[in-house]
């Protein structure tokens, strides 16, 4: 099934690369001339991408503004997402939100602030399927995937002999044999892959990325097995401490006291600067099942509360950004493009680390994008903490997390 999907996907990607790519620019300029004839508008773009990435966005946006006669201001938004929701509700929000982590879309969607993506802006088939699921609600597209990220297995090339382990059982044996394995185990974001591999899930996918918040899969037998495994890693294997954090795990990997570490692309630059001899591999399978990391998608959406003229121009801008920007974001920010055609680009392929993250992402699940997800992080992190400290049994943890999440969703009024 999955193989077929990949083959099909790559054929579509090839087709998109062959004709979709070049064809996109004339149509974009056609759209541009259409808006240019209308009265020029002034667009406000908020972005969560910082530093050089923000500069790249600004470059493309200003080029678009010049060719269409519109005005664009790109502003860095480093505020809380709830602040952006209230800003839009109060009429002070941006016209375009660019590079927002997709799991935050839920609050905007709940407040009715996401404009549906008009047809012709993106070709869903040309994108990695999880990125499309991450940005749609009930099968309808409400945002555009820009790039994506997933976690991978970092290993020390000076400690790990030969190729990195491909099964978690092998990794565990090697780690217990003295190599060490540490990661931010109490953080649900990093740990979810173990739960998913064992058959657990957060919310049931009814197909088309439509999630059912009443069907929580963090208390099923698969999830219990995963909780047992996680507790064993800390309590009996003593690979990690009961107060393990991302910082302590990272420091241990950097020092070499642990040869394996699970994290995302954001740690690559730091290790390179510290001259750590490392490489990234796909995260090994657990019990013969693929590790299913959460996929985070940087998404762009148009504010549905803004004027029609602005919305029209905003979609035109997004279309332009989708064509010109993702490869630049890869170069300056290590972002994995969400467009299949760009994944096959030679510069992307040449980066072995990104290829490993992309390989991990292939088995990944998009982080649930509905507002109910906000009620998951606290309880899930809480039981992982209790498990690591051996204050709760896996069975009790399974019951507690489901009950807490249900309570939380019921209280999200």
């Amino acid at each position: 099934m999955r193989l077929k999907a990949i083959v099909l996907g790559s054929i579509v990607a090839l087709l998109a690369a062959a004709c979709g790519g070049p064809a996109a620019s004339p149509s974009a300029s056609a759209g541009a001339s259409a808006t240019a004839s209308a009265a020029p508008v002034e667009l406000l773009v908020w972005t969560h991408l910082t530093g050089p990435e923000r500069d790249e966005i600004d470059k493309v946006a200003q080029a678009w503004a010049k060719s269409t006669g519109n005005k664009v201001t790109v502003v860095l938004d480093s505020g809380d997402f709830s602040a952006a929701v209230t800003a839009i509700a109060g009429g002070k929000g941006p016209d375009v939100m660019y590079g927002l982590p997709h799991d935050n879309l839920g609050n905007f969607q709940k407040a009715g602030q996401l404009a549906a993506v008009p047809s012709g802006i993106i070709d869903a088939a040309a994108y990695v399927p999880q990125s499309i699921a991450a940005t749609s609600y009930d099968g309808k597209q409400y945002a555009v995937p820009v790039s994506m990220e997933a976690i991978g297995l970092f290993y020390r090339t000076d400690k790990v002999k030969g190729t990195p382990p491909t099964t978690f059982e092998d990794l565990r044996t090697q780690a217990k044999g003295g190599l060490g394995f540490k990661y931010d185990i109490k953080n649900f974001y990093f740990t979810y892959g173990f739960i998913g591999a064992n058959g657990g899930y957060v919310f049931k996918d009814k197909g088309n990325g439509a999630l059912d918040p009443s069907d929580i899969g963090l208390g099923n037998d698969g999830a219990k097995n995963a909780y047992q495994l996680l507790q064993d890693l800390v309590v009996s294997d003593k690979l990690m401490t009961k107060d393990e954090s991302g910082d302590t795990a990272k420091a241990a990997f950097q020092k070499g006291t642990s040869a394996f570490y699970i994290s995302g692309p954001w740690d690559v630059d730091g290790f390179k600067k510290a001259n750590v001899p490392f490489a990234v591999a796909k995260i090994p399978s657990v019990n013969g099942k693929a590790f299913t990391p959460f996929i985070g998608v940087q998404a762009a959406f148009v504010n549905s509360k803004t004027t029609d003229a602005k919305q029209k121009a905003a979609w035109d801008l997004i279309k332009k950004l989708q064509t010109d920007l993702p490869l630049q974001l890869f170069k300056v920010g290590n972002r994995i493009p969400a467009q299949k055609a760009l994944l096959g680009d030679s510069t992307v392929k040449a980066d072995a680390n990104v290829a490993a993250f992309a390989a991990s992402a292939q088995d990944g699940t998009p982080m649930p994008n509905i507002a109910a997800m906000a009620a998951v992080w606290g309880p899930a992190g809480g039981v992982l903490d209790l498990l690591a400290q051996n204050k709760i049994t896996p069975a009790a943890a399974a019951d507690k997390v489901v009950k807490d999440i249900k309570d939380g969703i019921a209280q999200q009024k």
Partner: protein, 360 residues
Amino acid sequence: MDQQRDVMRAEAHPLGGGGSASSRPPVASTSAPSAAGFRITELADAGAAAGARGLARFTAYLYLTPALFTMTLLTFIPIALTITVAFTDWSLANFTDPRFIGLQNFVDLFTGPYSPVFVPTFIWNVAFAALAALTQYGVGLFVALLLNNRHMRETNFYRAILILPMAIPATLSIVAWQGLLQESSGQINNLLEAIANAIGWQGFERIPFLLDDNLAKVSIILVGIWFGFPWFMNMCLAALSSIPAELYEAAHVDGATLFQRFRHVTMPLLLSFTMPLMVASFAYNFTNFGAIYLLTRGNPVRVDTQWAGNTDILITVAYKLLGQPLYRYGLASAMALLLFVVVGSMALAQIRALRLVEEK
């Protein structure tokens, strides 16, 4: 002295605008300034009609405007808003159309999923505030007594060093303490382990300062002492230096021992001066958000509820209701209002009790 004060009174008088201004030079030059100062107000009262008095009142309010404006903006409006919001279902989801729901938020706080939250949190909250005030006062007093030694030349040097915890921004040093107290990476445990190794103690286990339910509470109190004692030390030193030396001399002549002097001279005088500070410290610590949240975030996690941790106090619970995942401003405001009533009545009761003590 008297002359100066009266001139100042004349100048500060808002009536200065009219005829009284011309009568000011003679005031300063008269040999009986207090009588002259009195005459100004008399003159002004006699000369000006009720309208002028209205003007005077108006001018007075004009002077108060900046203070009233900022107080309205920063105190009265937020309080009024909090009270209003506490009776609505305002949240992120219905940001634009909140409805009044009466006492529902208060009912919610004590029923349903929140029912395990209030009582344990409240008990720990009272214990924390009381213990923090008492221990900080105790340590501050002890250090002050040590420093209040006439024969110690380095008093000011020690005092300068001991005041340092107050000089460092609390947010920074609490985060530093959080790092120091970690079980597997904290320097305090590293030090203890090194000592244990040096003396050859095999049974040493690293101490879960912030992970154990009870130790986390002890850690909070200990870190609180570190922050709080310098202030009490200073206050006690000031109070100690204000106790007349004759009292000690008299006690000495009467043959009182060192302890008797402390018990019957120092303590009573010190207490009358510092008791109000204790009450203030209790009220301050009752809502001391930073001391809890920055050190433990309210953790260790409680098994029976997700809405509060083992070291959460009411104010940190209210804060948690405000943010992810609930964003329920109404509920959080109800909690804050409840907290206001609790702190207010406790402070009132303590002040009443203190007055009784003073009347004796």
